[in-house]
Amino acid sequence: MLYAALLSFLTLLQGLAASSWEEIALRFVPFALFLELPLTLLVMLGMARYAARRGPAAPPQAPRGPALRWPRVSCVITCYSEKEDVRHTLQSLAAQDYPGEIEIIAVVDGAIQNADTLAAARRHLGPINAGAPRRRLIVLPKWQRGGRVSSLNAGRALATGAIVMALDGDTSFDRDMVSNAVRHFRDPNVIAVSGNLRARNASTSLATRLQALEYLVSISGGKTGLSEFNLVNNISGAFGIFRAEILKLVGGWDAGTAEDLDMTQRLKQHFGQHPAWRIVFDPRVVGHTDVPATFREFLRQRLRWDGDLYYIYVRKYRHNLRPGLLGWPNFLSHLITGVLLQIVMPFLILAYSAYLFLSFNTGIVLGILAFVYLAYLAVLALYFAAYCLLVSDRLAHDARYFIYLPLYPFFAYCSRINCALALLHEMFNRGHLDSAMAPWWVLRKTKF
């Protein structure tokens, strides 16, 4: 078998130069060439453009100016069962170097059963309100659990700031997060900023290491590139920054699951009317969050996330995927990165893998897969190098992840297979109704 594998591998290598179009088409994972590679190149181009625009790395400057020059920022933090961990979020927000006012609204959902989270949040009332100048903490208990969307909307109802942040209850933030984020809003066309997420518990296990690498690749690197062309695919639910009047325009968050993708979609639906509007991603607006520590938890998380994507793009906004609403760039981006890459391709990969294993003997299949793996790894290495050199502000820390690159393709492959299963679960089982993001009595009222 091994001999057959080696043979097919070498044949493929040899055939790179000599084959006809059809053979190349068969040998290379077709969608990798026609869909994923162009996207990778686009992102790398974006990263280069970002680096060029930013200029040589300047030493980080503390924000200056009188407090009144800076708008008030309201941070809505949705707390549930984080218990004591809310202190990471609250303390890191109170300790920001932002010269203006920060209003921290900690919304505790289901405050009766989460009494410990409520108590932990309330313990910060004295220190922050009395101790920190220009920082105010409001703790809003929601006695009846209503889900993440209702918490965000409740916080938004109390928010008085010109900029509203939607944050998670156990994420902590770099000191310059708020000032870096607010800078973007000086441009009146910027309607939202998506924050950069890093895995805080990366060193816990192999699973967390690979997820940390995935965050670097797809979020820190990928979204930076996309942001240069105003094609940011999603504003993370754990870290979204919006103009308050834009939130008012879209009527706040909408019930159901995947409220972050939902909000991003609804914001983009105004791009047709307002082509100058932009959603920006800034890799310097950094938050640190915990990622699932085991592979099983990771797969369960992605089951929810990938199923949510189908729910949003196909069930809810099926009729909204048109250039009149989204503008041509985002329409194409959604078609390619959203529908084709995230929905169609997992099935293609599943089908292709099945076809390979059924049509050829195992040895040849392994050879083909090895070739695909190498090609993928080469592109990935190039991409990651580009990220480290052009975008990363923690080069020494991020460069260490080169070691994990060889494992990444397997990780990504398993992720895709899981994604296909998630899509099936959503399509046939209506998995969005079982979401843990809201209680069942709220979810069943959804119109979709």
């Binding site: 809003l140 006695w143 009846q144 209503g146 109802a157 109390l158 019930a255 119109k447």
Partner: protein
């Protein structure tokens, strides 16, 4: 035993030590001096009016009881006649220990006497709606003068009255001291009072949260964002939280701000800035009783035989010197008695024993002297004696003999240092009382 005056409507009948009258005017016309008063159950008059008349009369300190239960603060409660008679007699007896003449007392001193003759009596505050400070002491007011809480406070600060029970804690305006405050909740953003508490509704269909008013003020509830009909709480919607909605600036807040406005001066304050005043029931202290017994309260009624305050001693000394200079022969001597070994005694006996010793020494010295001699204590270890027309030596010898008796066998004896000055022989020209005393101290 003195007589009791009984207020009764019934037919008068003679009884020993008992005078029956119909009303206050009849009592006045009789011109007697009773020990106390008793209101019979059949008396039709108003106890409150009677008490007011009594407390502003020359018999203001007499006890007055009533047969029927009575809550009048100026009367002394409900008792039957024989017990009341006993109590009144006892009070009169207690009054004999008082040095000053009761008729010469100031209102503050009257209050002390009033409490003194009623053993263990509490000076109770009463809630007075009309009063600016909201609490008054009816007994203090009835005894003359508008005394109020501040006058009683002065007596407390002087140590003559002590708070024994906390009755209330009131908050007063920091500007004018009035206890009449209005507390109102206002919008934390614009301080307008037009705020209303609105429960927030959460629409399950679209996740919108807003105050109740947004969902349709009257009639069926419908979500302003998605127009879903909210018919059943728990199924279509719920009320997760409550908020305050300001009618003036549309601000939505979790909690309203409380502001206190004074009714009298109209100023508004944060509740934390209000003056907190505690209202107590008071009791006469031992110092107060002592002060009353010795008559130390007022300068004018200083009887002979008590220690003079240092200022007065100097004044008397000065008067003696001036009179002697003017009229010739007025010899007197000044004697300074100092305890020399206080430290050693403190080490041996401890502070309470030593201060008892000092008190005993002063008392024995007093006993050695005549009525006309003046003494003054200006520190625990120092005693001044002014001896008109007398040489100091005999007194000094007597005092030393007394001091020698003051210690038990085997203990450290009390060492006294005596210095004296005889006038006009040892006076230098132009000396003042301070100079004399300084000279004695410095010797």
């Amino acid at each position: 035993m003195g007589s009791m005056v009984i207020f009764s409507a019934g037919a008068a009948h003679a009884a020993p030590a008992q005078i029956q009258v119909r009303d206050w005017d009849e009592f006045i016309s009789l011109s007697c001096d009773p020990d106390g008063f008793w209101i019979a159950p059949d008396w039709p008059g108003s106890p409150a009016a009677l008490a007011a008349q009594l407390r502003s009369s020359p018999w203001w300190d007499r006890l007055a009881f009533s047969a029927a239960p009575c809550a009048e603060p100026l009367l002394d409660g409900q008792l039957d006649l024989p017990t009341a008679r006993l109590r009144c007699a006892r009070a009169q007896l207690a009054k004999r220990a008082i040095a000053p003449d009761p008729s010469l007392l100031l209102p503050a001193e009257k209050l002390l006497l009033y409490l003194y003759v009623r053993e263990k009596h509490e000076l109770l505050p009463r809630h007075e709606r009309a009063s600016k400070t909201r609490y008054t002491y009816p007994v203090a007011d009835a005894l003359g003068g508008e005394m109020g809480i501040d006058a009683v406070g002065q007596l407390v600060r002087a140590g003559l009255l002590a708070p024994v029970r906390l009755v209330d804690r009131i908050r007063a305006c920091p500007d004018c001291g009035s206890g009449h405050l209005s507390f109102v909740d206002v919008c934390p953003a614009c301080a307008s009072i037009e705020i209303s508490q609105a429960p927030a509704l959460h629409c399950f269909t679209c996740g919108h949260i807003g105050p109740r008013g947004e969902f349709g003020a009257h009639g069926p509830l419908s979500c302003p964002k998605c127009a879903a009909a909210l018919r059943h709480i728990g199924t279509d919607y719920d009320t997760p939280t409550a908020q305050h909605l300001c009618g003036a600036c549309r601000h939505v807040a979790l909690e309203a701000r409380i502001v206190a406005t004074c009714f009298d001066c109209g100023h508004s304050h944060e509740p934390a800035r209000l003056k907190v005043r505690e209202v107590h029931a008071h009791e006469l202290t031992w110092q107060g009783a002592e002060a009353l017994r010795q008559g130390r309260l007022q300068l004018a009624c200083q009887p002979a035989g008590a220690h003079l305050p240092p200022l007065q001693f100097r004044q008397v000394l000065h008067w003696l010197m001036l009179t002697g200079q003017r009229h010739g022969a007025l010899p007197f001597s000044v004697l300074l008695v100092e305890m020399a070994n206080t430290d050693a005694l403190l080490l041996q006996h401890g502070a309470p024993a030593v201060s008892a010793l000092q008190g005993e020494l002063a008392a024995r010295l007093r006993a050695c002297l005549r009525t006309a001699d003046a003494t003054s204590v200006d520190s625990a270890e120092r005693l001044w004696v002014l001896l008109p027309f007398t040489a100091p030596e005999p007194v000094a010898e007597r005092l030393l003999a007394q001091a020698a008796q003051l210690h038990a066998a085997g203990e450290t004896p009390l060492a006294l240092r005596l210095r004296s000055l005889q006038a006009p022989r040892e006076l230098a020209g132009g000396d003042g009382p301070d100079a004399i005393m300084a000279r004695l101290l410095g010797d």
